[in-house]
Amino acid sequence: MAIRDLRETISLWRLCWTLAELDIVQRYRGSLLGPFWLTLSTGVMVGAMGVIYSTLFQIEMHDYLPFLAISQVLWGYLAVLVAESCQGFTMSEGMIRSMRMPFLLYGARMVLRNVLVLAHNVVVIVLVDLVLWNWPGPAAIFAIPAMLLWLIDSLAITILLGAICARFRDVPPIAASVMQMAFFITPVIWRPHLIGDKEWLLPFNPFFTLLEIVRAPLLGTVPGWEIYVSAITSSVVLCGVTWVFFARVRGRIAFWV
């Protein structure tokens, strides 16, 4: 049954895409810049944080800004995705109760919507690289398979959190505080090597390794094997847990929302 859900979702990909697109259109309807507000606000934030933190950490701006831009854009994607996943199914209550749709479609819609947002924010990274004339080089290729892994993980997150949060209404605030904590303990705005001789601990943080497999190539380096092992292991665990959970509770989601 869960497999049928997946198959139906794939056959409805046009609906899924349109829903995601309309979500963005609807959010910015009537505004002058439209979705480019996303680009602008991310750009302003990266610029401001770049100045502050390069002073605080006493790093060369030229060095720090590309790092910060990529980190901020990727983390922004993840944080918003998690927050929206928590309301994924509860927000679609009306739709879930009035027509039969595969549940994965709601997840895929959220992922696509956030990928569209990400696409607008990537402009900031490109601009920073352009202004500083700091291009990653051929290593950037490695970011592509890593992004694909992100997409699969994203779908798993939306389904897992969406279902859990529909059932247990305490989970959204828990997820929010976990994400906030993760933001501080993960090298998002600070460089991994700043942690000094505790650096060996970092591969145990799945947030870090998943971030690093995309970020490092975009900065021109290929992450070490331990990063990949950690990122892939945590993805397999995430997807496995999600699949088993989804297969079990799929029939009950309609009662929970």
């Binding site: 056959s11 409805l12 046009r14 609906l15 349109t18 829903l19 309309l22 609807q26 309807r29 009306g94 739709m95 879930i96 109760r97 009035s98 027509m99 039969r100 749709m101 059932r167 247990f168 209404r169 305490d170 989970v171 029939g251 009950r252 309609a254 009662f255 929970w256």
Partner: protein, 264 residues
């Protein structure tokens, strides 16, 4: 409208369907309760403090092409739940339901319409959901627009529409896609009389075009006009089932005259 089901004759087969409707209170869903619950269970107490409504109990029937089933019973007898289960929205805990053929369920007045999107966008989504291609969606739009008398409103968000306009749009949209199996809930027969005049013709077309109809209503005329068999539900069970007039007379407690002329 689409899919492999189109070539097969329509069929609905329900076998021993039971469904419990869990009621979660605001506090009942918290993590704490569940954790506490598992603790008490370990201490040997029963963990049955969840409130469950036995929505459907051992429902079995079979409908083939040409069958028009009416569901009657008091409020809360499980009619709407049964329709939702047939539509695949709720899954039965025990028993099985087999539906063959394209299906359209008119259950909710807004049919999942998004109030922040324009009429046109909602029409497009509905078309995509039903698996229509670009050209068919255009036709759908023309058809819905004409029937619902939308004019320029089609490019405005649905939330600013008047109540009547929303009903017209919802109705036009729901009836534009002709299914093999049509499930219909009560509200579809309610509506302002003026609109109903026109709606009725369209609805009758659709009902007659469908191979199987399942209708839940208290409206005696509609039952007599459209249904050839009835299921009378009480407390989630099939209380009585049989030919329309016979069951209806028993249900109402007086004789009914089937009209020679269809109402409307």
């Amino acid at each position: 409208m689409s899919g492999m089901g189109e070539h097969l004759p329509a069929l609905i087969e329900a076998t021993g369907v039971s469904l419990d409707f869990p009621l979660y209170h605001a506090s009942g869903r918290s993590l704490k309760k569940t954790l506490m619950g598992s603790v008490t269970r370990r201490m040997g107490e029963d963990n049955r403090h969840r409130v469950v409504v036995q929505a459907l109990r051992d429902i079995s029937f079979r409908l083939e092409a040409g069958d028009r089933l009416g569901l009657i019973g008091s409020n809360g007898a499980g009619k709407t739940t049964l329709l939702r289960t047939l539509a695949g929205i709720y899954e039965p805990y025990t028993g099985s339901i087999r539906v063959q053929g394209s299906l359209n369920a008119l259950l909710d007045p807004n049919l999942g319409m998004n109030p922040n999107l324009t009429g046109r966008e909602n029409i497009m989504l509905r078309g995509l959901y039903s698996g229509l291609d670009g050209k068919e969606i255009e036709q759908l739009e023309v058809d819905v627009r004409r029937f619902a008398e939308m004019d320029e409103f089609i490019n405005l968000p649905v939330r600013i529409y008047s109540a009547g306009m929303i009903i017209r749009l919802g109705f036009a949209l729901a009836t534009a896609i002709r299914p093999q199996v049509l499930l219909m809930d009560e509200w579809f027969l309610a509506g302002d009389a003026n609109f109903m005049e026109r709606a009725r013709t369209r609805l009758e077309d659709m009902v007659r075009g469908a191979e199987i109809l399942v209708l839940s209503t208290h409206n005696t005329d509609a039952l007599l006009d459209w249904c050839n068999r009835l299921i009378w539900m009480e407390q989630g069970r099939i209380h009585r089932a049989g030919p329309t007039v016979e069951i209806l007379e028993e249900y109402l407690g007086h004789r009914v005259q089937p009209k020679a002329q269809p109402a409307g």
